[in-house]
């Protein structure tokens, strides 16, 4: 457990670096895990080359889901949307620095799900506008 609740996770949970909302934003998406009552929203701003300039999250959840959201949005600043699409489960676990069983994995991956759903959603809107 003292592995699972590494200092960085507890710290990010109690004092996240990237908590907030962006208004206006280029992108905002929210999803929840009703089974746990976790809810994560991620807001992004991107530049002309689809590179993320600002990224924040809001919502509520357990230490694992909040810490992973905080670390994730922090890590994508400066990345372009294609790189974000390439993010996988392993990247989240690497950010957290822990291993998780199937139940808690869902908590850790909620923010990635939100991020990807949003990025793909934004792209499909762009497709429509072409």
């Amino acid at each position: 457990m003292d592995d699972l609740y590494r200092e960085v996770i507890i710290d990010r949970y109690k004092n996240p670096h990237q908590r907030g909302e962006l208004d206006p934003h280029d992108y905002s998406y929210k999803d929840d895990n009703p089974l746990c009552g976790d809810e994560i929203r991620i807001d992004l701003r991107v530049d002309g080359e689809n590179k993320v300039t600002e990224a924040v999250f809001s919502g509520q959840g357990c230490a694992i889901s909040i810490a992973s959201a905080d670390l994730l949005v922090e890590s994508i600043v400066g990345k372009n949307l294609d790189e974000i699409k390439g993010l996988a489960k392993e990247d989240i676990l690497e950010l957290l620095g822990i291993e998780l069983g199937p139940v808690r994995l869902k908590c850790a991956l909620l923010s990635l799900k939100v991020l990807k759903a949003g990025v793909y959603g934004m792209e499909s809107i762009e497709e429509e506008l072409k």
Partner: protein, 415 residues
């Protein structure tokens, strides 16, 4: 006058020796502290062995075979049904319908009773403290038949608001459904009083006994309930089998649930005639080993006495409430100890229930985190989820002490 039930105190050490799983460790040197009994109970050796014996010695189908094995299986299966009838005070084995679980019992009722007895605009009265199993089947029925659902609100003290119950009965519901004991708040509802009022209002009463039948004396005739649903696996028995009790005349009026073998008298290509209750609700080969296991689980509970089971849990929950309230940041939902069964659901300031449960798991303590299949109760109290510790015959106050100690560790991490 009925004699007062004798409540002897139970010997927890002796009981624990009957449950092989309680001897295990969750990791080296960390013994299991099982406090997730409201989700499912552990099984004594006698239940495991009875099910084993069926498969080893007389496995065969029931009701249809003339051979020795089938005779033995049929006798054992029907003996279990009779034991269940006796255990809940039913007047006949014919009032005991086997289902897969309590959830299926509610679905059977909604499907079979609901569809034939209700029409558009009729009302069903439920409560805010119901498990999803006693909400969703009625919501599905409501969508299909356009019947209206009302809900008795929960008061601030975690009990049902009986004033509002009376008011809502005034709307003339055809069916009233409520739990005898909340799986989140632990609240024990006054079944007899509520049933009498419902009957006076002309309603049929269905009681969710999933949390009450395993933990306290329940008597369907004394309480005059029309239907009672409960599950085997929460009362020392196996998963995969549950019970719907129904008054004989009500079951007789109901059409079958699923179609197939066992539920028919005869079948021709042009149609079928229905078997009698309870068989008309039991299509196909039933869960035979599970029924036998449930019968033996009831023998086990009976040997302790349900008054004694209740007394032990009252002691456990009183102690647990006291100790939980000591921990800074812990808030227990629901009524005072004397009005509840062996369930304590709580929030922890600054820590999500998942995190609480995870930390507790490191100490071998099994609790449940989430909404416990009762989201409306959580909404009522404005919380997303809770951590629930629930107690049974084999739990000890020193296990509660372990829980409290681990909660102090949660507080160190998250407080």
């Amino acid at each position: 006058m009925k004699p007062e039930p004798i409540s002897k105190s139970i010997d927890v050490d002796l009981i624990r020796a009957d449950f092989p799983i309680l001897q295990r460790e969750t990791s080296p040197g960390v013994p299991l502290v099982y406090l997730d009994n409201a989700a499912t109970s552990q099984k004594p050796l006698s239940v495991i062995e009875a099910m084993n014996a069926y498969y080893r010695k007389y496995n065969s189908n029931v009701h249809r075979g003339i051979h020795t094995l089938s005779e033995e299986a049929t006798v054992a299966y029907e003996k279990a049904r009779a034991r269940i009838a006796e255990f809940i005070g039913a007047s006949s084995w014919q009032e005991i319908v086997f289902t897969r679980n309590a959830t299926e019992a509610f679905n059977l009722l909604a499907h079979s009773w609901g569809r034939t007895k209700l029409t558009r605009g009729d009302r069903i009265l439920l409560t805010e403290m119901e498990h999803h199993a006693n909400i969703v089947p009625w919501q599905m029925l409501a969508a299909e038949l356009e019947v209206i659902l009302d809900f008795v609100p929960i008061s601030e003290d975690g009990k049902l608001n009986l004033e509002q119950y009376r008011v809502l009965l005034g709307k003339g519901p055809k069916l009233v459904g409520f739990t005898q004991m909340s799986n989140v708040l632990g609240t024990i509802n006054p079944v007899k009083e509520m049933t009498t009022l419902a009957h006076e209002a002309g309603a049929i009463v269905v009681v969710d006994g999933a949390q009450s039948v395993p933990h306290m004396p329940v008597n369907v005739v004394e309480d005059d309930v029309d239907f009672l649903a409960f599950s085997s696996h929460k009362m020392l028995g196996p998963t995969g089998i549950g019970v719907l009790y129904g008054k004989k005349d009500l079951l007789a009026e109901m059409p079958p649930f699923l179609g197939g073998g066992d539920m028919i008298k005869r079948v021709e290509l042009t149609g079928f005639t229905t078997n009698e209750a309870p068989y008309k609700f039991e299509a196909g080969t039933p869960a035979i080993a599970e029924a036998i296991g449930l019968g033996v689980a009831i023998d086990y509970l009976d040997s302790l006495g349900m008054e004694s089971v209740r007394a032990h849990e009252r002691e456990m929950v009183t102690y647990a409430m006291e100790r939980l309230e000591e921990v800074p940041g812990v808030v227990v939902l629901g009524p005072k100890a004397e009005a509840r069964g062996g369930v304590t659901s709580f929030t922890f300031q600054g820590a999500h229930p998942h995190d609480v449960a995870q930390v507790l798991d490191e100490y071998g303590i099994a609790v449940r985190a989430g909404h416990h299949c009762a989201m409306p109760v959580h909404q009522r109290f404005g919380v997303l989820a809770t951590t629930r510790a629930s107690y049974y015959i084999y739990n000890t106050t020193s296990e509660v002490d372990s829980l409290i100690e681990a909660l102090y560790r949660v507080q160190e991490l998250f407080g």
